[in-house]
């Protein structure tokens, strides 16, 4: 799929953009408009970009972040593309702060001219170009144009804000319902309270320990609901893929990494640098530690790295599978194949709803496990302290 994408030109990309949303909207609208659109396209361009390619690109596009929030698009009778959605602010740092609306890109169809610079949206990334919008490539077909630092409020950022507000509203109202209703939750709280209690009693307490679990609870709860809600948003036909984005999972995993190591006890660091403890004399440890200590230190990085890759890969894979199965319906276009792939897509969708919850659980569970390792204090130390105290 990757190799294939690289061969697609920018004009095709624009086309794909449109096609992708159309494909998705077909779920909501009808198949007739799709077929018609496809004919139009072949008529216009006349070169053989087949349906399979379109589907691949549609899936790829769906997985990526976007600078505008498009719900779906369609083609009018006269061939004009109509987008339903809203533009988002683009914030660039390119020798000064540049803020403008993504409407200037016209969904990648035109260049945006800001303060005498021209910017082009190419593969969902913004490049600085000349007035003609030329993109230069190196040997491996990577654009060599200047890429300004992009701090745009993209679709994913919007979804993060939406999820954040939803969570704030949901859980602060749950908190209020306790004071109003004498310690008993009402409404949605009745659904969410058992989950909060599950995270406390079955994730935090057994993994971190009765004494220290409390200080980690806010992070565990926030990360669980944040990942779960965003995973669930990814199941909607709005084309949202926040938790399947490597930058998002990296940010989450780095937080887990930082919390793990900043709350690490003396025992934890002792274990990192002296994993065998007093079981060997010092001269026996040297040859072992040449291997062991680097492995232990590498483990510090590998743990959060596995977190970020796991969440990213699972969500990404789920979206690809569902996208492919939906795409299959249009490839088969038969009375047997299309309903079959619809049934498959439906079944996978149900599994994905489970995976959405499961991945949030695993991320939270493993974070709690790492916190547990880091904040662990061995029994013998307590005994030792007790002796000293006496």
């Amino acid at each position: 799929m990757h190799r294939f994408l690289k061969t697609v030109s920018s004009s095709e990309m624009r086309k794909t953009f449109l096609k992708s949303f159309l494909l998705f909207s077909v779920l909501i609208l009808s198949q007739i408009s799709f077929g018609k659109e496809k004919e139009d396209k072949h008529g216009e361009e006349g070169h053989g970009k087949d349906l399979k390619t379109e589907i691949k690109e549609y899936i790829h596009h769906h997985l990526q972040d976007s600078h505008d929030f498009s719900l779906f698009s369609y083609t009018k009778e006269n061939g004009e593309h109509k987008y339903v959605g809203f533009p988002l602010p683009v914030i660039l740092w390119d020798e000064g702060l540049k803020v403008f609306s993504s409407a200037k890109f016209h969904h990648g169809e035109t260049l945006a001219e800001v303060d005498g610079n021209y910017y082009k949206l190419y593969h969902s990334k913004i490049y600085r170009t000349d007035a003609n919008g030329t993109i230069d490539y190196d040997e491996s077909h990577h654009p060599t144009n200047i890429k300004p630092l992009d701090f745009s409020i993209t679709k994913n950022v919007v979804m993060i804000i939406v999820t954040g507000l939803l969570m704030l509203w949901l859980f602060s109202s749950l908190a209020r319902s306790y004071t109003k209703n004498n310690g008993i939750p009402t409404g949605a709280g009745r659904f969410f309270e058992p989950i909060v209690l599950y995270i406390r009693d079955d994730i935090a307490r057994p993994n971190i320990g009765e004494k220290r679990y409390k200080k980690y609870m806010p992070f565990l709860l926030t990360i669980f609901f944040f990942i779960w809600f965003l995973n669930m948003f990814g199941m909607t036909p709005l084309g949202i893929n926040v938790t399947g984005n490597i930058a998002i999972t990296t940010a989450l995993a780095i937080l887990t990494f930082l919390i793990t190591n900043f709350t690490g006890t003396k025992d934890y660091w002792m274990h990192q640098f002296n994993p065998l403890g007093d079981s060997l004399p010092w001269y026996g440890k040297i040859p072992l530690y040449i291997i062991l200590v680097p492995i232990e230190l590498l483990g510090l990085i590998i743990k959060p790295f596995s977190l970020l890759i796991r969440l990213y890969a699972n969500m990404q894979a789920g979206h690809i599978v569902i996208g492919s199965l939906i795409g299959l319906m249009f490839i088969f276009k038969s009375w047997l194949g299309s309903p079959l792939s619809f049934g498959l897509a439906f079944a996978i969708m149900l599994i994905e709803v489970l995976v959405a919850l499961l991945q949030a659980y695993i991320f939270t569970m493993l974070s709690a496990l790492y916190f547990g390792f880091a904040s662990e204090e061995h029994e013998h130390d307590h005994e030792h302290e007790a002796e000293v105290a006496h």
């Binding site: 954040g164 704030l168 310690g183 309270e193 998002i248 937080l255």
Partner: protein, 166 residues
Amino acid sequence: MEKLLEEFSLGLFFWQTLLFLLLLWLLWKFAWKPILNAVNDREEGIKNALQAAEDAKKEMQNVTADSENLLQEARAEREKMLKEAREIKEKMIADAKEQAQVEGDKMLKQAQAAIESEKKAAVADIKEQVATLSVDIAEKVIKGELSDKKKQLKVVEDMLGDVKLN
């Protein structure tokens, strides 16, 4: 790996970190803390209520046991009192009997003594009267006897005859 790096967007990373930390802070303050506190309070409340119920049950058991003991004691007390009362009654009866006996005996003795003395007095009186009567009769008889000479002699002879016999 190369693809991953290519996909990595610094801007998105920046916003994610910033917004997530903000969300974490806000939720911490306005949601998780009050929720966890409320749940904790509720659990404490339930625990305390259960403990109180347990205590009350124990208390109740103690009270039942106490009252049982009390009842037992009261019953024993009553038994004891009844027994004592019975003993007292018997003693009183016995005492009364004894006293009555003694009193009776005394009275009897007095009566006997009185009767004895009365009898003696009566006997003495009778003796005296008999003597007087005897004397009177003897006087009269003697008077009658002695009115005739023959008879006087006879008497003297009889009397002399008696004397001889003695």
